[in-house]
């Protein structure tokens, strides 16, 4: 009988760990939703009912972690990190919450709850902003051919396509170049280095193409635009970058528009999408845990199924109401527009499906 009870107890808490893979701001947001304070040296936090939150850096391999039996759910941050959940090597019976990841591919998975709008809406937002700002001038695109950059590029191509076939007056595409600096290839396979990409940007510039959209991460963007790193800040008249490039105010003396998922900018909180979307991920987890409290046979697939039935209302969230697979019904973006003197204007734009 004793054996039976301990076995039952083991069964209940066999999967009790929430692993949070991402930046410090993301850790802070998720912990804040449980009224926990982030302590940099503390990688593990205990919740009521023996649930545990474990925080890890962006480099932690999601697919390997998903195979650990004590992991109940994973919260990830970016498309590249979250896309590992799609691999065959990843377990599919546990809840994965993508906080700010925008890759459309994530929407195909049965176990991924997306908090932020996908690249479909981000591309619409960027395309329409460029249209507003530049009228019909053609644009060039530089993208990092990984999950995030490629997907945002492909989404943008759909916008360009519909504009072309419907003969609308939006900007046309002048060309698109992949940028291999940070992709996971051998150096000999990286055909488009920063030098090559800058040379291509000069070719665009010679033909009068002034606006370039960059779909990749911060390191790659810096390599192209930061003179101290060999970049050329003057080759492009105005950059439009996706949410993968996290620029701090006054950091870049460039004409630059940065598109970010919505941040409500609440006093006393950290005004970044990572913080707020992770906070909402925590709210979802909290609701799922509460609902699980009344069940007699909790395991991770049951936890997943339970979470999928939940709804987060406007009042419960920081970034707007959501259900499983419906983060795309509302795409609210903040756009930080810098000029070459470092002046910043912020605006908010909304695109619905």
């Amino acid at each position: 009988m004793t054996f039976f009870i301990s076995q039952l107890s083991f069964s209940v808490f066999a999967a009790n760990k929430i692993v949070v893979i991402g930046s410090e701001n993301m850790h802070k947001g998720l912990l804040a939703s449980f009224d926990l304070e982030h302590i940099p040296t503390n990688l593990s936090y205990t919740l009521p009912n023996n649930y545990i939150i474990e925080v890890k850096s962006n480099t932690a391999p999601l697919d390997e972690i998903s195979q650990q039996e004590d992991v109940l759910a994973i919260v990830c941050q970016t498309s590249n990190e979250c896309a590992l959940a799609l691999k065959d090597s990843a377990a599919k019976d546990l809840l994965v919450i993508s906080a700010t990841a925008s890759s459309r591919l994530l929407g195909d998975a049965e176990n991924i709850w997306r908090m932020a709008p996908s690249n479909t809406l981000q591309a619409k937002a960027i395309y329409n902003e460029i249209k507003t700002e530049t009228a019909q001038e053609p644009i060039a695109i530089i993208y990092e051919p990984q999950d995030y950059g490629f997907d945002l590029y492909a989404s943008m191509m759909e916008e360009v396509f519909f504009n072309t076939i419907l003969e609308n007056d939006g900007p046309k595409l002048a060309g698109a170049i992949p940028f291999h600096m940070n992709v996971n290839l051998d150096e000999t396979q990286k055909s488009i280095t920063a030098d090559k990409a800058i040379a291509a940007l000069q070719d665009f510039s010679k033909m009068g193409i002034k606006s370039v959209a960059y779909f990749g991460y911060r390191d790659g963007f810096n390599a192209l635009t930061d003179g101290t790193m060999g970049g050329n800040p003057n080759v492009v008249n105005h950059w439009y970058v996706g949410d993968g490039v996290a620029i701090q105010p006054d950091e870049k003396p460039l004409n630059l528009s940065v598109f970010k998922p919505y941040s409500p900018n609440i006093a006393g909180e950290i005004n970044t999408p990572a913080y707020y979307y992770a906070h909402d991920a925590g709210t979802l987890l909290s609701k799922a845990m509460t609902k699980m409290g009344t069940t007699t046979d909790p395991d991770r697939s049951f936890f997943l199924d339970t979470a999928k039935t939940l709804e987060l209302s406007n009042e419960e969230t920081k970034t707007g109401k959501k259900t499983f697979n419906t983060a795309d019904e509302h795409g609210v973006f903040n756009v930080d527009v810098y000029d070459s003197l470092g002046n910043l204007q912020t605006k908010q734009i909304t695109f619905t499906r």
């Binding site: 595409l173 002048a174 060309g175 290839l185 000999t188």
Partner: protein
């Protein structure tokens, strides 16, 4: 004067007989005629009149209304007949009895004009040579078949999309224009053959509760495959992109370094649907491979760094000097080994001429091999096709498929819904592969290389 009850009854009886006899001694009232057509079957029916002893049907051809034929149908109150396609008549009935004929019923009219439309898109007011060949093949093949005796082929050359909208939706009568009935609501238009992707998409995008069968003779866009009433004769862009990717991978294997290629997209409205759709599929195919390579850090299964075909740029091309210059510069800057061109064949030569040294792959189309004999230009062609007769063979396949569907239907089922239903159940082994709405791969692609004499089939070991 007193009238007895007997006298009263006798009087009333006499009055009733008199009145009754007076009423009956007249011709019947005019019947009400109702006309229905089902396929080539026309049915006329009219109401029964108790005072009629028979009915006469009168009809006259609409082009000669004085030439009236009258048929005595005796006591029949309806008549059905299978008529020739093209028959157009006015029709009315009269009832009669011994006192004469009733006035004519309401006069009804029908015109049987069962037909298939062949929409051919013009470029700058002219049919291209390829479309002329395609149109000729469809006309010859269909009109020589028994199906043409029951269904007409109507050829409509469409100068532009605006005109396509006019003929399809019709024109309301305005001061400047005469009214014109649109094809979309004419149930006698049983099917439509189109000769371009954009036209196929434009027509198939129209929502209709009773849509016609649409056969696209040369369109390859994958978007069309999702439409419930569309049959593609040509193999789709998904199949084409896979074949292109195979060629690029083989080029990479032969290369000592990474094989760097660019994609050039036709950007004019008439070609953009094709080029963007093909690009979309090629991108997806290439990206799947690249992601797999990325997941292993660029190494193959035995841990070696492997050369592969890597996309290094995508550039729209509208034939202008500016876009030509930009692409030319980029080929040099990006150190490009090869290019895939998906655009109007007529706009390709200037591109080739600025960089004949790289390897070119062009999508399906009509290109002149002799222009590229000194370079390395490969073209995608429909698999197994006779290279000199691709357009004809696609035209034959479209016509033969349609013929097969029409022949399978009895005269009274020559209707849109029946034809579409029959088309969905039909498969046909054509000159360019097996065709049918449920056939997953309706053909394949081969690769041919330009030589001075001909397009030569590329055969890989």
């Amino acid at each position: 004067m007193k009238i007895s009850l007997k006298q009263m009854i006798a009087f009333l009886l006499l009055w009733f007989i008199t009145i009754f006899n007076t009423a009956y001694a007249m011709p019947p009232l005019a019947p009400v005629l109702e006309l229905n057509t089902r396929g080539l079957e026309v049915t006329a029916k009219w109401n029964y009149a108790s005072d009629a002893t028979g009915y006469k049907l009168s009809y006259a051809p609409t082009n000669n209304i004085a030439n009236v034929t009258v048929v005595d149908l005796e006591e029949q109150t309806n008549i059905s007949n299978i008529l020739q396609n093209g028959e157009s008549l006015f029709i009315a009935v009269q009832a009669y009895n011994e006192y004469g004929d009733s006035p004519l019923s309401n006069i009804e009219h029908f015109a049987l004009n069962k037909r298939v439309l062949l929409f051919t898109e013009m470029v700058d007011g002219e049919l291209t040579e390829a479309r002329r060949k395609l149109q000729k093949a469809i006309k010859e093949e269909f009109n020589s078949s028994p199906a043409a005796e029951r269904v007409n082929l109507e050829v409509v050359d469409v100068p532009n999309h605006e005109h396509l909208a006019d003929v399809f939706y019709g024109l309301s009568k305005t001061d400047e224009k005469v009214g014109l009935r649109g094809y979309v609501d004419d149930p006698d238009v049983l099917a439509i053959i189109t000769t371009s992707t954009s036209m196929g998409l434009a027509i198939s995008a129209i929502e209709h509760e009773n849509p016609p069968l649409i056969i696209t003779a040369t369109a390859t866009s994958e978007i069309l495959k999702d439409k419930d009433n569309v049959l593609l004769m040509a193999p789709s862009n998904d199949i084409q992109s896979t074949k292109i990717h195979q060629e690029l991978s083989l080029d990479a294997k032969e290369s000592n370094n990474m094989y760097k290629y660019i994609i050039i997209l036709g950007d004019n409205p008439g070609i953009a649907i094709y080029s963007f759709d093909l690009n979309n599929h090629l991108l997806a195919t290439s990206y799947r491979e690249e992601l797999s390579i990325l997941s292993k850090g660029g190494k193959n299964n035995i841990g070696e760094v492997e050369n592969f075909a890597q996309l290094v740029g995508t550039f729209p091309y509208d034939g202008s000097e500016n876009s030509l210059q930009l692409i030319s510069n980029m080929i040099t800057t990006l150190d490009v080994d090869g290019a895939v061109y998906m655009g109007f064949p007529e706009q390709f030569n200037p591109l080739y001429n600025v960089h004949p040294e790289i390897k070119w792959i062009v999508g399906d189309g009509s290109y002149a091999h002799e222009d590229f004999a000194s370079g390395d230009v490969r073209m995608m062609v429909f698999g197994g096709a006779d290279l000199n007769n691709i357009q004809q063979n696609l035209g034959y396949d479209a016509a033969n498929f349609l013929e097969k569907v029409v022949n399978a239907l009895p005269d009274f089922e020559l209707e849109r819904d029946k034809l579409l239903q029959e088309a969905k159940a039909t498969e046909y082994d054509g000159h360019t592969g097996r065709k049918g709405m449920s056939v997953k791969e309706n053909g394949s692609y081969d690769v041919v290389r330009a030589t001075a004499d001909k397009w030569e089939l590329v055969q890989h070991p």
